[in-house]
């Protein structure tokens, strides 16, 4: 049998995997901070949309991707402030605020996009972050294509995950976050400002989610469209749980999701398998559930104070 098609098949899937995983991973790593601090944000979808729009519009107007990214970050911070204000200061139910934020994200980006772009008749695409071919490494057969021909925002996840792990486990701030989500009263009694810590954690979360959203327009597709996030915020929420609230776990979970998403696209493109394409589409979701079941031994508990406003 000829091996070459199989290798190309695998290479094609694996090269797509990391890209597909990246936006989810950004949002999930962020959400880990928030959930570890006890705040559940199901509004990630909205945050990502706003990030995508902010990133797009500034990058488009200024012609500068970095400015776009900064704008996305700013939008993430703003989203975080709003979300925190309602969930931490006002102590409103986190899930409701999250649901509302999804609607707000959909609404505000839709309106702004229509007012400023859709009806302008301008050419709307921008130049995305180009793939960087790592010298020599990218020439390695197979691996080169899979690992060393991505753009900067994809590579950045290699920095993001260890960095997030470091902050969570090796800094005083990370320690505060983990305590505040587990036993906020205990943290309070040693002088940690629970609410302020949560504010910061939420802002980290929304900022990273916004970057994940911006990734879609600055480093993946090259244009904003309404609803571009397409459920990635929800997948990120699942990835956080699936990855056991750890950044490396989230990386594994989002790569797993990415690989099966890429696989299903590839299988559809092969066209000669007799499985209805809807079953292929469902594949990444079914696999996630199956793997989750397979991981029964590893009973990672959610942070105890998750979803509970303090005082």
């Amino acid at each position: 049998m000829d091996l070459l098609p199989v290798v190309i098949f695998l290479q094609s899937i694996l090269a797509a995997t990391w890209r597909m995983a990246t936006p989810i991973l950004y949002a999930a790593v962020g959400e880990i901070f928030s959930e570890r601090a006890g705040v559940l944000n199901i509004g990630l979808e909205g945050v990502m949309l706003i990030g995508a729009f902010a990133g797009y519009s500034v990058a488009y107007e200024s012609g500068n991707l970095i400015l776009g990214l900064l704008a996305a970050i700013a939008s993430g911070i703003l989203s975080g402030l709003i979300f925190s204000f309602f969930t931490i200061t006002v102590k409103a139910n986190q899930i409701v605020v999250g649901a509302a934020y999804n609607m707000i994200g959909m609404g505000i980006t839709g309106v702004l996009y229509r007012v400023f772009y859709a009806e302008s008749g301008r050419a709307l695409s921008l130049k995305t972050f180009a793939p960087i071919e790592i010298p020599f490494l990218s020439q390695i057969p197979f691996l080169g294509e899979v690992l060393f021909k991505h753009n900067i925002m994809v590579y950045a996840t290699l920095l993001l995950v260890p960095l997030a792990t470091f902050v969570l486990y090796k800094t005083a701030f990370g320690l505060s976050i983990r305590s505040v989500g587990e036993h906020p009263k205990a943290a309070d009694t040693v002088g940690i400002n629970v609410n302020r810590t949560r504010y910061f954690a939420v802002i980290i979360a929304t900022t990273l989610a916004a970057i994940g959203g911006a990734f879609l327009v600055l480093a993946y597709a090259d244009q904003f469209v309404e609803g571009i996030v397409t459920g990635r915020g929800f997948i990120a929420l699942a990835v956080v749980v699936f990855g056991g609230w750890s950044p490396w776990g989230a990386m594994g979970a989002s790569l797993l999701f990415g690989i099966f998403y890429a696989l299903q696209l590839r299988l559809q493109a092969m066209g000669n398998i007799m499985i209805p394409y809807q079953f292929l589409q469902a594949l990444p979701y079914v696999v996630t559930v199956l793997v989750l079941i397979g991981l029964t031994k590893r009973r990672v508990q959610a942070p105890k104070a998750l979803g509970v406003p303090y005082k």
Partner: protein, 336 residues
């Protein structure tokens, strides 16, 4: 005219409005049309700025506004059948004479509502509906399979394999793809053409990935028909430097070297004729409407001269012939 204006609110009481004689009246009332506000409404199943399916309808509506001085309005309906009927009634009861329901998912709702509003015409896009029992519901089909037949023809002449990326499996999409496949097979029965559905209309990233996946698998011609998400296909064409086509608009700037042919359509041009008859009260449908390459003002093809490998002149000649045959009906682009 005055008569009609006072009549419109009454349409809320459909039983009365449905009485036979009144259905005739618009014809008579047509002469002093100046005072009658002609109103045209659109039900779109998605955002009207999608650069694709919904936008063609919206632009058509704007054409009616510009040319006929109509008052226009659109609503992006929830994808729930509960919403369809209500939206249709809302327009009809406000005295809209021309309602375009942009997709044949609205068929049930239109057929249910139409008898209650005999002075309103309900047009269904991508539909071949016509039933003399409900004469004010009319299907309008822009046959995308025809330009796509040409695309397939060109693809098989110039490429090694083609990948088609659709949003969801609905007739306008599936028929377009059937046309493409038929066109390709007409050149080379063994020419590989595969279809991928994304399951949504918004995931540009997944569309791009699906397109790349084709290229990795050896295809060198791409066609996206997935609304918003199509943007990702254009981007993949440009990045991977393969050939491709564009539907419903000129997208040359998105993949200047890749796009060989743009299929442009002006749905408004097709609607205009009908709408002006509706406005005048002379519209008497006897069948559904079918727009194709024969209607040169409604759909036409534009070559991209700047493409890396523009369609060669001799092939263009051939295509002229193909188009003529399609227009004359000699070629059935939807043949099984």
């Amino acid at each position: 005219g005055g008569q009609q204006a006072t009549e419109a609110p009454k349409a809320e009481e459909p039983t009365k409005a449905a009485e036979a004689p009144k259905a005739e009246e618009p014809t008579k009332a047509a002469e002093p049309a100046a005072e009658v506000k002609f109103k045209a409404g659109l039900l779109a199943p998605g955002p009207v700025n999608d650069g694709g399916w919904n936008q063609t309808a919206y632009e058509g509506l704007k054409k009616i506004e510009a040319e006929l001085g109509a008052e226009i309005s659109y609503v992006e309906t929830e994808q729930s059948p509960a919403a369809f009927e209500k939206a249709l009634r809302d327009y009809a009861s406000q005295g809209y004479q021309f309602i375009l329901a942009h997709g044949n998912e609205y068929t049930d709702a239109a057929v249910t509502v139409a008898p209650d509003y005999p002075n309103t015409f309900f047009f269904l896009s991508s539909s071949r509906f016509f039933d003399p029992k409900v004469p004010n519901v009319v299907g309008l089909n822009t046959d995308s399979s025809q330009p796509c037949y040409v695309f397939g023809y060109v693809a098989a002449k110039m490429g090694k394999g083609a990948g088609l990326i659709g949003g969801m499996e609905i007739p306008p999409i599936a028929e377009a793809f059937t046309g493409f496949i038929n066109g390709a097979k007409a050149v080379n029965p063994d020419f590989p053409v595969k279809v991928t559905y994304l399951g949504n209309w918004t995931d540009t990233a997944a569309a791009k990935e699906a397109a790349i996946s084709y290229v990795d698998g050896g295809a060198d011609v791409l066609l996206g028909n997935a609304d918003f998400a199509t943007q990702g296909v254009f981007q993949a064409m440009a990045e991977k430097k393969v050939m491709g086509f564009s539907m419903f608009g000129d997208n040359t700037d998105k993949a200047p070297e890749s796009i060989l042919i743009n299929y442009l359509s002006d749905y408004g041009e097709g609607l205009l004729e009908i709408a002006s008859q509706v406005k005048d009260g002379t519209f008497k449908p006897t069948s559904n409407y079918e727009f194709g390459l024969k209607d040169e003002k409604v759909m036409w093809l534009v070559y991209n001269e700047k493409a890396a490998t523009p369609v060669p002149a001799d092939l263009r000649k051939e295509i002229e012939g193909v188009i003529a045959k399609i227009a004359s009906g000699e070629i059935n682009t939807l043949a099984k």
